[in-house]
Symmetry: C2
């Protein structure tokens, strides 16, 4: 029997606040380039006060992936916490409007933490430096995970970032158990090399015991396995995980599934804003996987989706991804 969802994602629910800045803004404000830094509300207010005019678009790593799969016509749901405030309304609207199920209850309005947000500072080279105020997304607990929903998922997609915060591991464990008990499979994205540093042992244990599909980029792979080269690191990962997928920017993506390594070439494009590249790669790959395509095609779908999202501002697709898949002879 076909399950209700091809992919259910769990992650940090947040709205991106995007602004184009020069490199010297980063140094003047102590922002490290190209990575994700967690910041508190005070720092968020300070940084926002200093940065230029911005635009707001729904974000959140796993939420971007789920939005991408939904945009492709895939059956999806998402679990992540926002508050009943204006940014929370924007986040939940945008996911539902994309066709994904979003049914995490909105936390009641009132004082205190607000809906999470990520200040995305885009430098002229298209690189982005992320400054994340987790807000309500941090308070995801096992109570927010409905076992019935997890049991209805072919695949779970877990965001490594969500390991930052209390109760997150318990929530992930509950979701994994319910999904696996019903025959579903587990995918994880390592999210960020510093996230790997923060949670290496927990990640390692989870990967070994539960993960069927691991998404990462070369920096995260290196942080995780400290191997001599990418090939060696991927083999270490593949000893523990069925499918290992490693993205490599302009070198495309590598997929290791049992036997040989597959290499999907990147799709050349002008980089306007690299935000969401990894998220949309995962969207394309998971769409392909849950639609019965072979590993190389899944990797190529990931590369096409990633190329679309970096060609414009914002981390959610704007063009019709199925049309792009057709143009590339993938469907």
């Amino acid at each position: 029997m076909k399950k209700k969802y091809q992919v259910v994602g769990i992650g940090n629910a947040m709205v991106d606040i995007l602004s184009h800045i020069e490199d010297d803004f980063l140094t003047a404000n102590g922002v490290e380039k190209g990575i994700m830094q967690l910041i508190d509300m005070n720092r968020a207010v300070e940084l926002y006060g200093r940065m230029g005019p911005a635009q707001e678009v729904s974000g959140g790593s796993a939420a971007n992936t789920i939005a991408g799969i939904a945009a492709l016509g895939g059956r999806t749901a998402y679990v992540g916490k926002v508050k009943d405030d204006q940014l929370g309304a924007i986040f939940s609207h945008d996911l539902r409007a994309q066709g994904a199920i979003y049914q995490t209850p909105l936390a009641p309005a009132g004082p205190g933490a607000e809906t999470g947000r990520c200040m995305v500072l885009v430098t002229p080279d298209g690189e982005r430096s992320l400054n994340t105020y987790l807000g309500w997304s941090e308070f995801l607990t096992p109570d927010d995970v409905e076992p019935e929903m997890m049991a209805q998922a072919d695949w779970l997609y877990l965001e490594g970032y969500r390991f930052d915060g209390p109760d997150s591991k318990a929530a992930f464990a509950k979701a994994i158990d319910a999904c696996k008990a019903a025959g579903g499979r587990i995918s994880l994205t390592l999210s960020d090399p510093f996230c790997v540093e923060r949670h290496r042992d927990d990640f390692r244990e989870m990967i070994r015991d539960h993960v069927d599909l691991l998404f990462c980029n070369v920096h995260e792979m290196q942080a995780m396995y400290h191997a001599g080269d990418l090939q060696a690191a991927m083999k270490l990962a593949a000893a523990e995980v069925d499918i290992v997928v490693c993205t490599a920017s302009e070198d495309g993506a590598y997929v290791l599934n049992g036997g040989g390594m597959e290499h999907a070439h990147a799709v050349p494009t002008d980089i306007i804003d690299a935000t969401g590249a990894g998220d949309l790669f995962a969207a394309g790959f998971l769409y392909g996987l849950t639609s019965g395509f072979d590993m190389l095609t899944c990797g190529r779908m990931g590369c096409v989706a990633a190329a679309e999202v970096i060609s414009h501002i914002g981390a959610r697709p704007e063009a019709d991804l199925i049309d792009l898949f057709k143009e590339h002879g993938l469907v």
Copy 2:
């Protein structure tokens, strides 16, 4: 003595919620194409629930103009009401971050009306259909107008849209009196042909008695003066106003100031989203005027600024407008 502000704008403060839709969405939802419709909160919720994923950017017609002048390095201030909620914070941040003074007090948070918003539905031809929930912007009263600020303005820039709502005419009158008493001058934009229909008599009286510079497009000009052709309508307007400026889309803009008519050609560009074209035209023109340029150059500055803003999503400039003026040999 140089005044503190080259231009002070007064208008509806709001955040734009931009979404790309197909034409049949408009017909299915009773949205009239290409114009601004006022909607209430219920209709706003209904329409938002039906529309696809969106992005949020600060908008408001006169606020876009003020942001444009500030982006050019002009000294500006803006008066318009938002609430102390997340959209209000976004609106006030974006104006200040652009270099404009925004000091209208934020209305206290709490139940009831929220910060105004405009759902901008962009069809594939780049045309936009505006659905405006005025929210707090409607409650601008004379108390929000500081005579000292108005006296410090070379030019006031009044948004015709703001005639929709109680106390607006009194607020405008207070601002006009304070500005004129200190030797300042008054500009008005007619905003929209339907806005002209709603307020023709009041507009006419205000134009005749107070306005030194009138901005409009050909549709608004026609709605206002019912003349046989554009030339005739502009002459009718010029009998009452020093400077009459009429934009004409791909035909550029016409400027009538005393003697002959000047014609500034449009700058060819791919239209991605026409939102803000008139607002940025006014920004370029007013920047030129308050910087001492001749009428034709002012018109050409307006056309360059308008072309920039329609080449991307959102109604505020993204490129360096001064650089664009240099490329066109204007500065």
